[in-house]
């Protein structure tokens, strides 16, 4: 893998080449006081000089004179919505005048899409979503279409927030795999490496430069700083501990604080739960059968013929945490957490998953 250098003032080339290659380009930008991924055509839309301050129950942006485009940690929402849409029509059904029932799959208008600025936590979580939607007995057709059209330009994370713990989950902060192109942002520009042939063909279209020894040493210095993350997971075997801690009093303690709002599952890059319902428009005989993100914190999630299996918040939080850190290992060979820290920042009451795990694992002071 050949590494090249692209000066910051020539970074627009990357966007131009992607647009010329007929990709829709999505990148990070500031909207309503948060960094979100949205369509872009111009390098000036990137969040230049912005850093994010994240703490339990807190998220804020701060702008400085630093020239970096990617000096922030986890965007408010992950890249999950790109392939696993918050809402998606699964099929349409209609009944003819003769009473014939007809089913059709929706026509998906999916364009090749390049996303710029994906962090290692989200790359790892995308791999988890791929495992869930593509690599089991049944393949999800809409996820597959969107996933195959996705071109990923990742960036090594050099500015972890106080909520980050991707080093502890072995998912970051630098990218080893799962990208078409990877960027390392240095003071004067970017080290570019490629992970796929598609990535290489885009890089070939750039006017780039050989990298210097100084740039490589700046990169390795940056990696060392970035892994000094403040939060980490307990050292014990979390999966086994959780399976044997189903009666732990901490579940009751959490339930005193948890609002069961489902924010954590909405921002989690790996959560896959969704519900299905019918939408019957008043002006058309065609019904859409729709899936929509759901949360194991919702009352109806465990409903079955008149009974709610998890009516108590205690059991809902226990379900979420035990699934994420224990059952996921049995289902997909690893934990479902990639250390992005979003569930900590976006929890309205500041519940910190690393803290709760520490208590349950008996490592409170670790």
């Amino acid at each position: 893998m050949d590494q090249r250098f692209l000066p910051r003032n020539e970074f627009h080339q990357l966007i131009d080449v992607l647009l010329a290659a007929d990709y829709s380009v999505i990148g990070p930008q500031v909207q309503n006081g948060a960094i979100v991924y949205d369509s872009m055509t111009n390098v000036d839309q990137l969040p230049k000089g912005f850093t994010d301050a994240q703490e339990a129950g807190q998220y804020s942006l701060h702008q400085s004179n630093n020239p970096y485009y990617f000096s922030w940690a986890a965007a408010a929402q992950s890249i999950k919505p790109l392939c696993f849409k918050p809402k998606e029509v699964l099929w349409k059904s209609s009944i003819s005048d003769q009473g014939t029932l007809n089913f059709t799959e929706p026509l998906l208008d999916v364009k090749p899409t390049a996303i710029i600025g994906v962090k290692a936590c989200d790359i790892a979580a995308l791999k988890l979503q791929d495992q869930h939607f593509l690599e089991q007995e049944y393949v999800d057709p809409t996820y597959k279409r969107r996933r195959e059209s996705l071109f990923i330009i990742s960036v090594d994370c050099a500015y972890p927030a106080a909520t980050c713990f991707c080093h502890s989950t072995n998912d970051g902060p630098t990218n080893q795999t799962g990208f078409d192109i990877n960027l390392t942002e240095l003071e004067n520009g970017f080290i570019i490496s490629t992970g796929t042939d598609a990535g290489q063909s885009i890089v070939d279209g750039l006017q780039s430069y050989d990298i210097s020894v100084d740039q490589l040493s700046e990169k390795s210095k940056q990696e060392k700083t970035a892994i000094n993350q403040q939060r980490k997971l307990p050292h014990t075997d979390i999966a086994q501990t959780l399976k044997h801690a189903q009666d732990h009093q901490q579940w009751d303690d959490i339930a005193q604080r948890c609002l069961a709002c489902g924010n954590c599952t909405a921002v989690c890059p790996s959560c896959f739960c969704h519900s299905e319902h019918d939408e019957y428009p008043l002006n058309s005989p065609e019904v859409s059968h729709v899936r929509q993100w759901d949360s194991c914190f919702n009352h109806g999630h465990s409903y079955i013929h008149g009974i709610v299996i998890r009516s108590e918040t205690r059991n809902r939080y226990r379900q979420w945490l035990t699934h994420k850190f224990a059952n996921w290992v049995d289902q997909y060979g690893r934990s479902g957490c990639t250390g992005c820290g979003r569930c900590i920042s976006w929890c309205p009451v500041g519940i910190d998953v690393t803290q709760e795990l520490a208590v349950i694992c008996g490592e409170e002071d670790a």
Binding site: C273, D278, D294, Y303, Q331
Partner: protein, 278 residues
Amino acid sequence: MPKFTLPHTVEVVERIQETPTIFTLRLRFVDQKQQQDYRFQPGQFNMLYLHGIGEIPISIVSDPADEALFDHTIRVVGRVTKGLSHLQTGDQIGIRGPFGRGWPLKTALGKDVILVTGGLGCAPVVSVIRYVIRRRDLFGRLVIMQGVKRADDLIWREQYTQWEALHDTQVILAASEEKQASWPWHTGHVTNLMDKAHFNPANAIAMMCGPEPMMRAAIEPLLREGVPENDLWLSMERNMQCAIGHCGHCQYGDKFICKDGPVFPYAEIKHLFGQAGY
């Protein structure tokens, strides 16, 4: 291979009212080729889709050898089952399936088969009863244990009488809340009548379906009698919306009931079975 993510159109060939709230739909694919290609195992389920209302999982109750039709027996509980109950002959609905792991009928060959069910839990198990009776020589004794609350809850009443008359077949029926003297069978919980069941524990397999407390109450005496854990099979139910292991609702610990089950050997789920919140 059929598409499992898009329903196929089937029509109601016959509708049978079993009790005031329970009915059976006999269905056939509109596309003849689909009907010919359709194969299922007893214990598997289909997703039944009612246009504009929604989709629900229902177990298949007919015999897999009946290739012209397949049957679903349904109790009216919610919106979709209520809508389905209004269907008439010739009406069309959508079907996805079959899904899941069915009953271990190959493992059961040559063994005494004990079937323990409660309430409408009998529907998935009735598919086994019919299966065994049609292939009677391939199995040992057949013990049918069915518990209901009241006499009215018992569907297929005449069938139980017919089954009772078959050789090597025992029917134990109990109604827990029935006070009428006209009820000819036992009163109380059927799970308390295990000592009346005649089978060889060393060569028996038990299949059960119904409320979990009932299955729990049945497991205890069966284990005590000496039936191995791996020969106790349970059909489990949880909220299911996709049936293909994606929507997450039916997760039971590390299992997806829709694709890893709905039928499980007890040993696979006993660490969670009966635990509140799972």
